[in-house]
């Protein structure tokens, strides 16, 4: 196993560990909401767990897996060396430490402001020490992802063996991400101009355009974590800064603008890029409509910059025009995602008869997950329906968890199943992989649908129901969660059976 393979596997195996942690948290939360375990887990533990759960799930699992996969795939596709292996390992340690510290802030220091961090909740309700620990964890996470982005941009844009400054990379990035060279050529009246972006494979275009979104997200979140750190530090030093220094509405706008970029950058664009890479490889034909999908990725990037208002449809001080804009632009995601799915399915269609290998089955069900979760998202992002759905279990169930578990997670597992044999020269057991897929997918749909239907009945998210008002839905959700857990364990058994514990030890050895 070479250094590149070892690096990728270290990220992926750590990611799988965090997925397990997030899964246990999810099961515990469903059990508590079903009225079980209340004598073990109090209110503080419940909300502490709920606060760290998305950090573990998104940064521990999804980001770790994406970083590992892209550190391996991007240089391989470009036939280049990774710009800096040292920086890649630094990003591994900072991400691992960041997620760990964030987790500790919730479980040990009882920081329970939830990931929304609505101003001034963290400062008003929680001890400054807990806020400081949490913000340090958050800062480490975003330092890690910024290191990753720089490594990606440098690997993609720097000519092999040449030393150029950060300015060169930045100029290339902005020009190619937004097709500025094509715009310039059109203004100048150049005929038959081929944009620079055409010299990169579609997968790479998806990676760097997705990285633009996630870089902006990381910068925004770094800013917000810094605000939390400054306020908590000042409090610890004995002079309390007035919370009125930050306006809650402006803060909320900045937060959602930055946070929603992850949904589009990481979830939509990275996923699309991964499908564009894997599907042609798995069915043995070129991607259908390559030039169109490049434009679709650009459209997705532009749309993602203007959708945050759909998170603020219940904020009546927010101007109505912005809220309507949030709704209208969100429908743009139906168009971009619709075109992405069309290109992928048409590629498979033109390659028929197709042998459905393990990764291809995962991708097909991942597409199904995106169709379900995306449709639910568009419904809740309408100004009118948001009045009935905002902050209910619908939002977190049939939208967020379907997208993250059935959509994103299955795509990430498709990558693992596709790349593992390339990295290790050994294929995972396909029968066990099928069991993994069926259990995980059906579990995700059962759990999320039970949560969603509870939301329709009025069950709120981010709310503990001490009397178990929606227990029957939560028992069903718990059953779905257990199915997912069984799927996850099947994967672990499959991995250990195929590669042995020695591979795991080798990956984590210096």
């Amino acid at each position: 196993m070479g250094p590149r393979e070892k690096l990728a596997l270290r990220f992926v195996l750590t990611a799988v560990f965090w997925l397990g942690v997030a899964g246990i948290e999810g099961l515990l939360m469903r059990a508590i909401l079903a009225g079980m375990l209340s004598n073990i887990y109090g209110v503080e533990h419940f909300y502490g767990m709920m606060t760290v759960h998305p950090f573990v799930g998104i940064y521990g699992w999804a980001y770790m897996a994406v970083l590992g996969a892209f550190y391996y795939l991007v240089p391989k596709v470009l036939n280049k060396e990774l710009y800096s292996e040292r920086a890649a390992y630094m990003s591994y340690w900072t991400l691992l430490l960041g997620v760990l510290i964030t987790w500790v802030s919730g479980y040990v220091f009882k920081f329970a402001s939830l990931y929304t961090l609505y101003w001034p909740l963290p400062i008003v309700r929680f001890p400054p020490t807990s806020v400081l620990v949490f913000s340090i964890g958050m800062l480490l996470i975003f330092i890690s992802v910024l290191l990753f982005f720089f490594n990606m941009f440098a690997t993609i844009f720097l000519p092999q063996g040449e030393e150029r400054g950060a300015g060169y990379i930045f100029k290339k990035l902005v020009t190619l991400s937004f097709n500025l060279d094509e715009i310039k050529a059109r203004i100048k009246g150049v005929k038959d101009y081929i944009p620079g972006v055409y010299s990169y494979p579609v997968f790479i275009v998806g990676v760097f355009r997705g990285c633009v979104d996630t870089t902006l997200n990381a910068l925004t979140m770094t800013g917000l974590a810094s605000i939390l750190a400054v306020f908590s530090l000042s409090s610890l030093l004995g002079f309390k800064l007035p919370t009125s220094l930050v306006d809650p509405l402006v803060y909320k706008n900045v937060f959602w603008w930055g946070l929603d970029l992850v949904a589009d950058g990481n979830v939509l664009i990275y996923t699309a890029a991964t499908w564009y890479f894997l599907v042609p490889m798995l069915v043995g034909r070129k991607l259908y409509g390559e030039s169109v999908v490049r434009t679709v990725i650009l459209a997705d990037l532009v749309v993602s910059l203007f959708v945050w208002n759909h998170h603020m449809l219940a904020d009546t001080p927010q101007p109505l025009a912005l809220q309507i804009q949030g709704q209208v632009v969100t429908w743009g995601e139906l168009i971009t995602m619709g075109l992405t799915i069309f290109a992928v399915l048409k590629t498979i269609w033109l390659a028929r008869p197709v042998k459905y290998s393990t990764p291809l089955k995962f991708i097909l069900l991942s597409i199904l997950g995106y169709m379900i979760g995306g449709s639910a998202g568009i419904l809740q992002a309408s100004y009118a329906l948001n009045r009935y759905l905002h902050n209910t279990q619908w939002v977190i169930g049939v939208h967020a968890h379907v997208l993250l578990l059935a959509g994103l997670t299955l795509t990430l597992f498709a990558v693992i199943y596709a790349l593992a044999p390339i990295i290790t020269s050994k294929e995972l057991d396909s029968r066990l992989a099928d069991i993994h897929l069926v259990l995980f997918f059906s579990g995700a749909i059962i759990m999320s649908s039970a949560m969603g239907l509870a939301g329709i009945e009025g069950m709120l998210r981010r709310t503990l129901y001490p009397n178990g008002e929606y227990a029957e839905y939560m028992y069903t959700a718990l059953a779905g969660g257990l199915l997912m857990a069984a799927g996850y364990l099947t994967f672990i058994v499959n991995f250990l059976k195929t590669y042995g514990i020695s591979t795991v030890i080798t990956v984590f050895k210096k």
Binding site: V43, L114, Y118, W119, P120, L121, V124, R125, S244, P248, L249, K252, R285, G289, E290, S291, A314, D315, T316, P317, L320, I324, Q327, W331, G332, L334, I335, G338, L339, F342, I348, W349, L350, R352, P353, V354, Y356, L365, L368, M371, I372, S375, A376, L379, S382, Y383, A384, L385, R387, Y388, H390, N391, I456, E457, G458, L460, R462, T463, L464, P466
Partner: protein, 191 residues
């Protein structure tokens, strides 16, 4: 019938249709009878750029769905938007509610409203972000808004059914968030 029922039915229908579609797609594309790998029209011509015909048709379909979807979602058919965009409802009564120390401070308990009477709720707080949600006796939500500290958070609503309504904080605001419930806070009479 509440609008939530329509959302539920619509969602479940979509799930069934999507499952059937993906299942059918996998079955058709794995069948061996065709036995031939096809080229798309553009590939046959060696074209690298531009959209193919079926892509254009699909794009038009998506655009139509998006336009129709937006029109329906902004139409007066949905009660929550009727009072905002289509009917200039002048509130006959205004209720000012203040939230402090995890408690709703109502002008009186219960708040009495008549069916069909436009009323305005102005909800304020000075501590953290809360939510103001109104729920029917069966637990389903009538409406909700966020309550931002330092702002006047307003909503005009017309209740179309008599009954007793509960108010509840719909945004997590700290460890005692779940305690922010006032049962039978609103009595809607008449009809």
């Amino acid at each position: 019938m509440y609008i939530q029922v329509f959302i539920e039915v619509f969602y479940l229908t979509l799930v069934v249709v999507y499952f059937a579609f993906i299942g059918f797609f996998m079955w058709v594309t794995s069948r061996k009878s065709r036995g031939r790998r096809e080229e798309s029209k553009a590939e046959e011509k060696g074209a690298e750029k531009g959209m193919e015909r079926d892509e254009k048709i699909w794009l038009v379909f998506l655009l139509v769905v998006a336009i129709v979807g937006n029109i329906v979602m902004l139409s007066p058919a949905i009660p929550s938007i009727r009072n905002v965009l289509w009917v200039n409802q002048v509130p006959e009564k205004t209720f000012e509610i203040f939230i402090e120390n995890y408690e709703f401070k109502l002008p009186k308990y219960p708040v009495r409203i008549k069916v069909g009477q436009p009323v305005e709720f102005i909800v304020r707080t000075n501590d953290v972000t809360h939510g103001f949600g109104v729920f029917r006796e069966d637990g389903t939500m009538v409406f909700q808004i966020q309550v931002l500290p330092g702002y006047d958070n307003r909503i005009v609503w017309v209740f179309d059914e008599p009954g007793s309504y509960t108010i509840r904080c719909t945004e997590y605001c700290g460890f005692r968030h779940s305690e922010m419930v006032v049962y039978d806070a609103i009595m809607v009479e008449g009809g």
